[in-house]
């Protein structure tokens, strides 16, 4: 009888403990299906979970004017108001074989400020040059088959970029020493980072499943503030910031343009463009402009989500639009080889150039002289850089290159820097004659 009691007791105890273990919420690692009616599959917040190595630099990240962005501003305007680039340019120096032709995505554009020229490559090298062309340092990211395709961001003391090896780096500009890195497992950084109010915003693609998300980090330390929910597809598009709604505007390969709250990372809304969005949105006072692979340029009111207008470009596009303020004209390209000048007010096509190049790059807007007109610099043909008159679309200058330009030209003072596809390199172009930058 005692044995029987003992056995029964043991069985009951085993059952009780098992039940406790199974139903106690603290002891369950993952959500699981409880009933069909209650079924709501909750994905983990992102595929990763990151690691940070943290070293402090002197506090220096809160001066927004010291930040150098891809497309020049958090709104991704593509306009450089400080530089003056005349039409008569000649080569100052070049660094050969910058990119090796790995991967078909647009190559990283140089990031340039007073301290130097910084550019990542598809071979995994990241270079820092002096303005004279001498190499200051180089840094190789590990285990990245596709290297670096995003354009770096420059702060006063740091240069930050992401690679196709799941890791985002911030290095010291003077020495190339690592300040911090953060890794989101099994992801890639194809888009260029954004900084708003001392916070980094990254668009991240996942590689084991095709998906993507945004992450917000502290620029100084790399500490994660939030990760957005899954966006449904990979995010090649660089996010832009809309100050009117304090939100981030970003496109994904599923054709959706998302509006994400900057403070919380919550998705506030999205619209479907019916084609992958690989370009960077441009945020204006009226809304956001974006191209997509369904061959259109869409202008959407970011407050209401309503379409302002939509213009067909005739072929898919991954060129980011550039709006020129003096003329109210948007310059954008398509992969069908066309360059367009489109009226910002109505979406009407004012001019169109047909080229032989699948235009993947975007226009740089820079003045030709002090008080002079804005010019659009863009890769306009095979191995050719052009300067266009924005109002008429007339090509004012053609410069032959050794490789195709799939990124954007970058201006600094009187100079243009361009990073070319293989077999071209990094080229600095300078004015034939020096120009005054200020009256």
């Amino acid at each position: 009888m005692n044995k029987l009691k003992f056995c029964v007791f043991l069985i009951l105890l085993t059952g009780l403990l098992s039940l406790l273990v199974v139903i106690h919420p603290d002891l369950i690692a993952f959500d699981r299906l409880r009933s069909k009616k209650q079924f709501k599959k909750v994905l983990p917040p992102s595929p990763a979970l990151h690691s940070i190595q943290n070293r402090k630099t002197a506090a220096e990240e809160n001066n927004p004017s010291e930040i150098s962005y891809y497309r020049h501003s958090p709104q991704r305007s593509g306009l450089d108001p400080k530089a003056i680039v005349p039409l008569d340019l000649r080569e100052s120096w070049r660094f050969e074989n910058l990119n090796l032709g790995i991967h078909g995505a647009s190559k990283a554009s140089p990031a340039v400020d007073a301290s130097g020229v910084y550019v990542g490559t598809d071979s995994g090298w990241f270079y820092a040059f002096e303005h004279s062309g001498s190499l200051r340092w180089k840094f190789h990211i590990g285990l990245a088959a596709r290297g670096i395709h995003s354009t770096a961001l420059l702060s006063e003391k740091k240069v930050c970029f992401g690679g196709y090896n799941s890791t985002f780096y911030c290095l010291k500009k003077d020495t190339g020493e690592v300040v911090w890195t953060t890794t989101f497992a099994r992801t890639a950084f194809g888009a260029s980072p954004l900084v708003v109010d001392g916070f980094l915003v990254l668009a991240i693609e996942t590689t084991t499943t095709t998906n993507g998300f945004l992450a917000k980090l502290e620029l100084e330390t790399g500490k994660l503030i939030w990760q957005s929910r899954w966006l449904g597809e990979q995010v090649h598009s660089s996010p832009a910031y809309d100050s009117a709604t304090n939100s981030l505007i970003v496109g994904a390969n599923n054709g959706r343009l998302f509006k994400i709250d900057f403070e919380t990372g919550r998705t506030l809304g999205s619209i479907n463009l019916m084609g992958p969005i690989k370009s960077t949105p441009l945020v204006t006072e009226r809304g956001a402009l974006v191209t997509s692979w369904n061959g259109s340029l869409l202008y959407v009111d970011t407050r209401s989500g309503k379409k302002i207008w939509k213009t067909s470009l005739g072929f898919r596009s991954q060129s980011s639009p550039t709006l020129f303020p003096d003329s109210g004209i948007i310059v954008v390209g398509s992969s069908g080889g066309s360059l367009f000048g489109i009226e910002e007010r109505s979406g009407k096509i004012l001019w169109k150039h047909q080229t032989n190049l699948q235009i993947q790059g975007s226009a740089l807007g820079v003045r030709e002289s002090l008080q002079g007109p804005w010019r659009a610099w863009i890769g306009c043909d095979i191995k050719t850089l052009c300067a266009l008159d924005v109002k008429s679309g007339k090509i004012l200058k053609k410069i032959s290159l050794d490789g195709d330009l799939t990124g954007i030209p970058v201006a600094f003072e009187n100079f243009l820097y361009i990073a070319l596809n293989h077999p071209g390199g990094l080229v600095k172009l300078k004015a034939q004659k020096s120009l005054a930058l200020r009256p």
Binding site: L17, S18, V21, A29, F30, I52, W137, G142, T167, V178
Partner: protein, 404 residues
């Protein structure tokens, strides 16, 4: 005094058929170990330092192990001697009838263990519970008084200590299993919970007087180890089968089995068990998560404590250039994320690059987490690693192992 002590130990074995046969099974563990270590050639490659993917990984107490490189021929010959010894010792135990034979068997088993554990200290990769448990049990067998009682209680203690390692989300959700046994969801969770109950409570049935209880307990343990083959392979279940053979030997021997009750414990047994449980607790009071710091690997059990994930970066700095290495050594899941592994790899990089042109130094970073953790925890963060040459301390009481 030592002689008489050893003489007493040998006497006890020679007078008990159970103990003689059990000695044979303890020697068989070494035969199985030979196949595990040497037949695949993995340890040969490791000790001959021809595994280019993963160079020498040294224990923290033997940081210069990399200097010892053994010719493959020497390792091969030694492994055959080890196999021969293992077979010979087990045969000796199984057939020993006289004092002198037992005498020889006792010394041979001791030698066999020394042989094995000398190999083990030359590379951290050779570590594992399946060496830790036979080592302790053999020491108990060779030196403890009333060996059957001592070994029985120590075996049960292994399971109980292992059960406490499993009281976490990682195990109970099934996330700790690094190989899927083909079972998912609720069924897997129930089975993981059952294992905890089996190891924590049911296992005490081995010490019961009642035949039914102890037989049922042994059957459950056998089934558990048989199933674990799907996850851990053959070696672990084979070792545990040899160790657990003590119980059926005791039950079916012609001599009456000793009482295994708590009252029958000798003070030496209590001392051994106290030391054992203190060793299990020690890593937890040191700070940090032992599953991630790897601190317990030297003197505590670590079976399925976690399926750790980690991210390691080594930045090699030269004049004007820096190379990042993200080491992903091909190692078993138990030590793949151990800080000691990356400490060894960094030291190897320092050695390799010491005379390279323009080499300045390297920085080492490692973060790790359990599968069920939401964020990584830094374990190592140090710049100028080669210059600083930090020691790896497994006995300190700080959370971080190597932190700048």
């Amino acid at each position: 005094m030592i002689r008489s002590f050893i003489h007493r130990q040998i006497n006890e074995i020679s007078q008990s058929a159970t103990l003689r046969y059990y000695g044979g099974f303890l020697a068989l563990v070494h035969v199985v170990t030979y196949f595990f270590w040497f037949q695949t050639g993995s340890l040969t490659k490791t000790l001959s330092r021809t595994n280019l993917e993963t160079p020498a990984l040294c224990w923290s107490f033997f940081p210069s192990c990399w200097e010892f490189q053994f010719p493959a021929g020497f390792i091969y010959a030694s492994s055959l001697i080890y196999l021969f010894l293992g077979c010979a010792v087990s045969i000796l135990f199984f057939s020993a009838r006289f004092q002198k034979a037992t005498d020889l068997a006792w010394w041979s088993l001791l030698t066999l263990n020394l042989f094995k554990y000398i190999w083990l200290i030359f590379d951290y990769r050779a570590m594992g519970n399946y060496h830790y448990m036979p080592f302790l049990l053999t020491l108990c067998y060779l030196f403890a008084p009333r060996k059957q009682v001592a070994c029985a209680w120590l075996l049960v203690s292994f399971y109980v200590a292992a059960s406490f390692l499993k009281l976490n989300q990682e195990w109970l959700s099934g996330a700790a299993l690094f190989r899927n046994p083909g079972i998912h969801g609720l069924t897997l969770e129930w089975m993981c919970a059952y294992v905890v109950v089996l190891e924590m409570l049911v296992v005490w049935g081995l010490l019961a007087k009642n035949k039914l209880i102890r037989t049922l307990t042994l059957i459950q343990l056998i089934l558990f180890h048989a199933f674990s083959y799907l996850i851990v392979g053959y070696f672990y279940p084979a070792v545990m089968t040899c160790l657990l053979s003590l119980f059926p030997l005791m039950w079916f021997a012609s001599e009456p089995p000793p009482s295994l009750s708590f009252r029958s414990l000798h003070p030496a047994h209590i001392f051994i068990l106290a030391i054992f449980f203190c060793a299990q607790i020690f890593p937890w009071i040191q700070g940090g998560d032992p599953a991630l710091t790897g601190r317990g690997r030297l003197f505590a059990l670590n079976m399925f404590d976690a399926n750790a994930q980690c991210s390691a970066q080594i930045f090699l700095r030269f004049e004007g250039s820096t190379f990042e290495i993200q080491p992903k050594p091909s190692l078993g899941p138990r030590i793949l994320c151990d800080p000691l592994t990356y400490w060894s790899l960094a030291r190897e990089q320092c050695r390799q690059n010491r005379n390279s042109e323009g080499f300045k130094d390297l920085d080492l970073f490692l973060s790790s987490k359990r599968t069920s953790d939401s964020s990584f925890t830094p374990q190592i963060s140090i710049s100028n690693f080669c210059q600083k040459d930090p020691p790896f301390s497994t006995l300190s009481f700080t959370q971080e192992l190597i932190y700048e």
